[in-house]
């Protein structure tokens, strides 16, 4: 046990994901001995600020600094297309492509019974409400290409299809710019299964 405030910080840090007791101690000592007062204040202020200022967008459930997130409040975006993702970092990934100009919908995970996550734990109902209310014409499902992501995609597709709306699923395959020889067998196998005709 350390002096009161130091131990308090160690205890708080070790509650964070992937930070164990040893790492928490190292970070606490770093903050105590090697971090300037200014930097420490900035860190503290940043933590307070995300709790005070960042909310969840009531429409798409992305992080939002105002009422709506920056995509939902951007009038230049195409409101008729929605890309469904598992979590906010996935939005950043899609945005980096610069290819998607529609809106998002964050599910908050994927269906995974062994972790006790079913459709009720995700924002599926909210997605259906949006589709019915907002004049959406296409839903792109961009959940992860694993078993849980596929099951979630299929579940959502089954719910949306009867509404007469176009539902698409992003393709999975090889990373572009990489070497074929370094691709693992499973990815390459899937890419072969999903091959397409090429026209010269």
């Amino acid at each position: 046990m350390f002096e009161g405030p130091v131990q308090d910080l160690v205890d708080e840090l070790s509650k964070l994901p992937s930070i164990g007791g040893k790492t928490a101690q190292r970070i606490a000592f770093h903050l105590l001995l090697r971090t300037s007062r200014t930097d420490a204040d900035r860190l503290a202020a940043a933590i307070v600020a995300i709790k005070e200022q960042v909310a969840i967008c009531p429409r798409c459930f992305n992080f939002a600094a105002g009422d709506l997130c920056r995509f939902c409040s951007d009038s230049r975006r195409d409101e008729t297309v929605v890309c469904v993702v598992e979590s906010p970092p996935d939005i950043i990934a899609v945005e980096r492509t610069g290819e998607f100009r529609g809106l998002y919908h964050v599910l908050g995970g994927a269906i995974s019974p062994i972790q006790g996550i079913g459709p009720d734990e995700l924002r599926v109902r909210e997605l259906l409400d949006r589709i019915k209310a907002d004049g959406i014409v296409e839903v792109i499902i961009a959940t992860n290409p694993n078993i849980e992501g596929e099951a979630t995609a299929m579940y959502i597709a089954r719910l949306i299809e009867p509404l007469g709306i176009r539902v698409t699923r992003i393709a999975s395959g090889l990373p572009v710019g990489g070497d074929l020889e370094y691709a693992d067998e499973v990815t390459l196998g899937r890419a072969l299964e999903g091959r397409r005709e090429i026209h010269g």
Binding site: P113, P119, Y155, R158, L159, E185, V186, G189
Partner: protein, 368 residues
């Protein structure tokens, strides 16, 4: 592929050992408990980075030591030599030529080996799980791209069981979610059955001929293995058939919290001269069948990959009569095989052997 040299350092009961192997058949002799199998285990470790004898890696480190090391010089079919090493216990690493890496992945595929151990008798004699493991393993070895087919099915099954288990506990369930898992299980199940059938068909051609050869001419020796699909009586194992089986099983599944239809309940029906090998064959016949299956694995993987691995046969002669043993050794002539035997072998077998080693209390000596 050939293993030319093997060096052991604090591995099992070997403090230091260096063994040189020729091509062809090598025979390791010694009494029980002297360390014959440990040599095969070391080579197997280089090939797959785990042991069939233990899941606790510390138990292969010599008593009182912290780390063990297995080093080898292997040669591929073009004659190119590669030096490999594997550190076990406290100092874990893998070395390929001069590249050292704490991760063992770089060793994958550098050394390839097929093992036959006395425990393989269970493939023939034991419950269906052992036969499913054998065929799933073969699927991946023959077609590495199919690894996803095996692991996807296992994952879907685990999730679906999770859902059924909570439904059984809470007595309520979301039928729509279960429908989705049914559909996933059906698609992945169909792919798994197809991959298993394919692997079985590839291997059985070889297995039948090995069995016939091991039994000798003039004796009826017909080995058959049929894929026994548990949910589709037509045998096709289609997604539609699995969907229907799941529909029929649903009330019972919800009650028991378990998936009750699918390829995880399938079996392989092995027969010798039309009789069920599991219940109607003698112990010696069962062992010959198990061995035929392993040799079929060995030869068909070699044909698929273009590189024949090292064949490791542990205590293979213990329940085979001398004529079967001799016919077996003749079959091995093409590759490099390393065999262990507890007793003295008949002269006609010894004539086929390129090198003989004697093992006594963790010391190896080459006799011929």
């Amino acid at each position: 592929m050939l293993i030319r040299e093997l060096e052991l350092h604090n591995f099992r009961n070997y403090q230091e050992a260096e063994i040189h192997f020729p091509a062809g058949v090598s025979l390791i002799e010694g009494e029980n408990g002297q360390g014959k199998t440990n040599i095969l285990e070391a080579i197997y470790y280089l090939a797959v980075q785990h042991s069939w004898r233990t899941s606790r890696e510390e138990s292969v480190v010599r008593d009182g030591c912290e780390s063990a090391r297995i080093s080898a010089l292997v040669e591929n079919r073009r004659g190119n030599q590669v030096r490999v090493a594997l550190g076990l216990g406290k100092e874990r690493d893998a070395v390929v030529n001069n590249t050292r890496d704490p991760r063992r992945r770089q060793l994958a595929g550098v050394v390839t080996a097929t093992l036959f151990a006395p425990e393989d008798l269970e493939i023939v004699k034991g419950p269906p799980g052992g036969r499913r493991d054998f065929i799933d393993d073969l699927v991946v070895k023959l077609r590495p791209a199919k690894a996803g087919v095996v692991s996807d099915y296992a994952r879907v099954l685990k999730q679906r069981n999770g859902l059924l288990k909570s439904a059984a506990l809470t007595r309520k369930h979301d039928a729509e979610t279960l429908d989705v898992w049914d559909s996933q299980l059906a698609t992945k199940g169909e792919a798994l059955v197809a991959a298993r059938r394919n692997a079985l068909q590839t291997a059985m051609g070889v297995a039948e001929s090995v069995y016939r050869q091991a039994c000798g001419p003039g004796i009826g020796a017909e080995l058959r293995a049929e894929y026994a699909c548990s949910f589709d009586k037509s045998g096709a194992g289609s997604a539609t058939a699995l969907q229907e089986a799941l529909k029929a099983a649903r009330p019972e599944e919800l009650r028991r919290g378990l998936t009750l239809a699918g390829p995880h309940l399938d079996d392989i029906a092995i027969s010798v001269n039309g009789l069920d090998a599991r219940t109607r064959a003698s112990q010696g016949e069962q062992r010959t069948v198990a061995l035929s299956l392993r040799l079929a694995e060995h030869e068909s993987v070699a044909a698929a990959s273009g590189e024949e691995g090292i064949l490791l046969l542990d205590d293979v002669f213990s329940e085979l009569d001398p004529s079967r043993s001799r016919l077996l050794v003749e079959r091995l002539a093409s590759a490099q095989s390393i065999l262990t035997a507890a007793g003295m072998l008949p002269t006609e077998i010894r004539e086929q052997v390129s090198a003989t080693y004697s093992v006594k209390m963790g010391r190896v000596e080459q006799i011929t």
